[in-house]
Amino acid sequence: MNVQTIINANNGVDTQALINARGAFEQMPEAAHFTFRSKAEWIEGTYSVNRIDGYFGLGQEHSRKRSFAIESDHPEVFHAADRAPSPPEIVLSALASCLIGGVASVAQHRGIQLRSVRAKVEGDLDVKGILGMDAEIRNGFSAIRVSFDIDADASAEDIAAIVAQSQKRSAVFDILTNPTNVNVSVA
């Protein structure tokens, strides 16, 4: 049905702008090719800091409003100083943020007002893999679970549909569930 719903919900997402972007990229598909980047530097031990300050997209370079920092370290149990979350935890947080952003966007598009959205993300990791103790055990997570707690003006089924759709359109969910070619070089 081609019904223009009067949308009163306000989740702070400009879905019209996203719909307009779809139209623009249909005309100029090459403008949709983005390259994101993070520049990391070792500080000490397992402690490092990433700087995220720009990306390429819409045919040109862009600067972020400011240079964002993401620090990473390891917990004390691994004899590190625990100055920041570990890289796998940052991956879990990236998944949570990606899905939450998706939930807000999809809810907005469907005219559903959100009151609160909480996600708990857990990843199981057997460190015998990283420590090279057992070739059968992978380094990464053997399983990841996300559990949402959402308060919204919608039925349980509508909320389930929003969460399902947010996974379907999530970059990080795709990155984690499908293989990616990763090339590492040394300058």
């Binding site: 049905m1 081609n2 399983a143 089924e157 996974q167």
Partner: protein
């Protein structure tokens, strides 16, 4: 050079319905058919396949099923017989055994070159089918040598599949039917399922096509959906032309002993990698099915259908706790891969600038260019455009357009 006002390429349900519509309008035309009437149904489908639409639904202009089994599903020989009978009933003029080699524009005419001579026409109808060629993902090239690959247009029966395990890629109607059939025949079967749509064959005592037909779902027009690209890309429902089983879904396949894995993401170093998104694909499928059934319930309530049993509620799709993510072909469990990854029309001979960046033909409700029409594609004008039942209305609407065009040019 042969001349005719209108040429129709293809003599399946779409081409024949167009012939009927043109004859009613006294428009001179000829059908070009690479094989015989109903060629794809005759030669490119598997032995056990039956139509997904019940007999009562296979309506064509001037034809309606009058047999005794209106709720049955036709086998391929029966479909062939139906269309052959229809072709002779409407006295369609068909050049069989005629393969189109190229179509070009020459001034006000289309020139159609074939293996049996050239034609010139003022208007041209492309009715050569939505399922003319299987779509096989690029990753097929990475399959290790020694693994047998079969596209569904070459699959006939489990007899042709060598002993050993089979990986069926794709969980729409084709994939689930072949997975079930191969498992029942004794093969070890793994099914890679991406986005799919679960649907019961019958619901509240009525065939699912009855619900879709009567509730108006199938008559939904292009103007009534907000994302036509998406609507055109919707995979076929997980159905078989068999009223005895309510489902041929992932639950049913697991009962048969089929192992379900996620979408085939890649093949690297002889190992197939499956997506970890299977749970979400199944959740989306359950949600879509339940939404469709709820809309049928609402429709039935609103018009007050007499004598309907109560709404049915179906258990959700169950999946293994940790679906397999990788399959090393070297371990020997799988010796055959079947690509049930969809079909596409084949316009390889159409030398005209009518394709989008993804190679799909661009059309407005079947109108491609002045005097050029396409028929039978998914959601061409309505949701039933690719069904036998959808051919008639589309053919008549496009024939009206075609006649206006031909008369304007002749005037």
């Amino acid at each position: 050079m042969n001349h005719v006002s209108t040429l129709v390429i293809g003599a399946g349900q779409a081409g024949l319905a167009m012939s009927h519509a043109l004859r009613e309008r006294s428009e001179p035309h000829v059908l070009l058919e690479r094989g015989d009437v109903a060629n794809s149904w005759r030669t490119e489908r598997w032995d056990s396949l039956r139509l997904l639409t019940p007999n009562w639904q296979n309506r064509l202009p001037g034809y309606q099923y009058t047999g005794t089994n209106s709720d049955g599903f036709m086998s391929m020989p029966e479909v062939t017989k139906l269309l052959t009978g229809y072709a002779s009933a409407i006295s369609a003029e068909i050049e069989t055994g005629t393969s189109v080699l190229s179509v070009t524009r020459q001034g006000d005419f289309y020139e159609v070159s074939t293996n049996r001579g050239d034609w010139r026409c003022r208007s041209l109808v492309l009715a050569n089918g939505a399922c003319a060629r299987p779509v096989i993902p690029a990753v097929a090239a990475a399959l290790p040598a020694g693994i047998c690959q079969i596209a569904p247009n070459h699959y006939k029966s489990p007899d042709q599949v060598s002993r050993g395990g089979v990986l069926v890629v794709g969980a729409s109607a084709t994939g689930v039917q072949l997975a079930a059939e191969l498992r029942v025949a004794g093969h070890d079967v793994m099914l890679a399922a991406g986005q799919h749509i679960r649907m019961p064959r019958h619901y509240r005592g009525r065939d699912i096509q009855w619900w879709m037909d009567r509730s108006g779902t199938l008559s939904t027009t292009v103007d009534e959906v907000d994302d036509i690209e998406r609507a055109r890309g919707v995979p076929s429902l997980q159905l078989a032309g068999d009223g005895t089983e309510q489902f041929v879904d992932l639950n049913r396949l697991q009962v048969l002993g089929v192992e379900i894995v996620g979408r085939l993401s890649d093949i690297r170093n002889g190992t197939a990698l499956f997506s970890g998104s299977l749970a979400n694909a199944a959740a989306l499928s359950d949600l879509k099915m339940n939404r469709a059934l709820a809309s049928f319930d609402a429709w039935a309530d609103s018009i007050g259908v007499e004598g309907l049993p109560s709404p049915e509620c179906f258990a959700q799709t169950e999946l293994p706790r940790s679906p397999r993510l990788a399959l090393d072909f070297a371990k020997g469990r799988i010796s055959t891969v079947i690509w049930a990854t969809g079909y596409a029309p084949d316009f390889g001979w159409l030398d005209l600038p009518v394709f989008d960046r993804k190679g799909r033909i661009v059309h407005d409700k079947g109108v491609v260019a002045p005097g050029l029409y396409v028929l039978g594609l998914p959601f061409l004008r309505t949701r039933k455009s690719s069904l036998i039942d959808g051919a008639g209305a589309d053919a008549h609407a496009l024939a009206d357009h075609l006649l206006r065009f031909v008369r304007d040019r002749a005037a």
